[in-house]
Symmetry: C2
Subunit: 282 residues, 2 copies
């Protein structure tokens, strides 16, 4: 479908997308842009990109530019990409926050060529070596402000995500950021905090983790996530994240109060209520 696609950032999301575009025959050539030569070399060695280039040159040559870098860096980089853009080109991003970016591009003369997207898939790993085959499958992809994109650009980006097996969900950027705080950002904060809780204890007691089993692993695995990616997400979405975090702390305080007061009936009630999450999870 595309002759040349540029991925800006050669990491988990862009790398996995690049692999999928090649596999599905949606791109003939993948160009990679990165801040470091080391990442480009790795991405080349892994067969994720065909060529590493400077941003300007890569954008100039490409039909489609996909930006997947930390959300703070996205703002100036996307501005630069948009300033370089020609009528026939299409740009999309993969950021975990949407409001700041959509606002910053709202008056841009090439706004119509941009499609704001957030594929709801990821792992706790980062860098070119974290890219995997078969990513995205079965997950939701949010598209924001679709009315601000050219129908033809929107349709092309939609068809990429559909080809990857994603289902599309449309919402405005503000709603996206609220929802992302609830179903993604708070999970990361609780994992980071839980890791720090047990690491605190480890200072005095080395043997403790010999016992760590599957439950522990599943609740803390997100604590391995990259701070350079997640700190900017929390900062850009701080008002929503703070609201959810406050609610979460108050839910934890209910458990605390049950234990302090030895109120087992209310403890059971809280847990029975939490069981309702089953209908949301597969």
């Amino acid at each position: 479908m595309f002759e040349k696609v540029t991925i800006v950032g050669v990491g988990l999301i862009s790398g996995s997308l690049a692999l999928a575009l090649k596999e599905k025959g949606l791109a003939k050539k993948i160009l990679g842009v990165s801040r470091t030569q080391k990442s480009l070399d790795k991405a080349l060695a892994l067969g994720i990109i065909d060529e590493g280039l400077e941003l300007e040159e890569a954008v100039r040559q490409s039909d489609f530019i996909y930006v997947a870098i930390p959300v703070d860096a996205t703002l100036p980089v996307m501005k630069k990409v948009m300033d370089l853009l020609q009528e026939n080109q299409i740009v999309a991003d993969a950021g975990s926050t949407k409001q700041a970016l959509c606002q910053s591009l709202s008056g841009h003369p090439m706004r119509r060529r941009f499609v704001a997207t957030h594929p709801m898939w990821g792992t706790e790993y980062s860098g070119p070596e974290s890219a995997v085959h078969g990513a995205f499958e079965g997950r939701a992809c949010v598209i924001c402000e679709k009315e601000k994109s050219d129908p033809e650009a929107l349709q092309k980006v939609e068809s990429i995500y559909k080809a990857l097996g994603m289902h599309l969900v449309y919402m405005d950027a503000a709603n996206h950021d609220v929802h992302a705080a609830y179903v993604s950002h708070i999970s990361h904060i609780t994992s980071f905090a839980l890791a720090n809780t047990v690491l605190e204890k480890e200072k005095e007691e080395n043997a403790i983790f010999e016992l760590a089993g599957g439950g522990f692993e599943s609740t803390v695995r997100l604590a391995k996530s990259n701070p350079s990616m997640w700190a900017p997400i929390f900062m850009q979405n701080r008002e929503n994240v703070l609201e959810v975090l406050n609610e979460h702390i108050s839910q934890l305080r209910k458990f605390k109060s049950c234990l302090e007061k030895e109120n087992e009936p209310y403890l059971r009630e809280l847990m029975e209520h939490a069981n309702k999450i089953s209908r949301i999870l597969k």
Copy 2:
């Protein structure tokens, strides 16, 4: 190795153990004891047990009795089992707390025939239908107060867990309960509380969970756990759980403060510290 083994409780742990004992040729016949006929019927239908019996009759016939029921029910049931016990029989439990049980049995004349164990494996499911083949493999099994068990009884129980692929860890009951609070109980509380946090939001906003991805699922999956099993664990281990919960809330407050004060450097520092959990997880 055993002619007849009784499992008291026919659920996740005892059921998975029974399947493994049969597969490894460690038990010729499995007897099941349960509060409900329905569970016994299911366990029979699933091939987990060969016969359902009343506790007294099952214990009378068995070489080895394995008790895996909620930790509050364990106390009176284990007392009953111990009162029925003959010299040649062996008893073990699988409880997630060890101090209350070990204390309650400390003066019992048959204490030597009891081995206090906690296989550190589980899933969020319960009941006979949750029993799986190949459980326990690669995980730790804690054995408490091993000096209070007859060497021959201890050795037999150890050899069962080793045959299941577990590695044995020895500690006193008080230490076990501290460690379990850190590597298991707190993970369950954070999951229950996180589920309640997002369910709170769902009241006003139905579409939110269309977006829930892998990260969310992994941090809340334990919220599906059975309150009848977990409420007694939290109550029996409440002092340790409260200590960890207080530490966890104070770790969450650090994240909150970073967001409120827009202190991104400290936010990154907290996350980089949490990343150290990698060396503990596989």
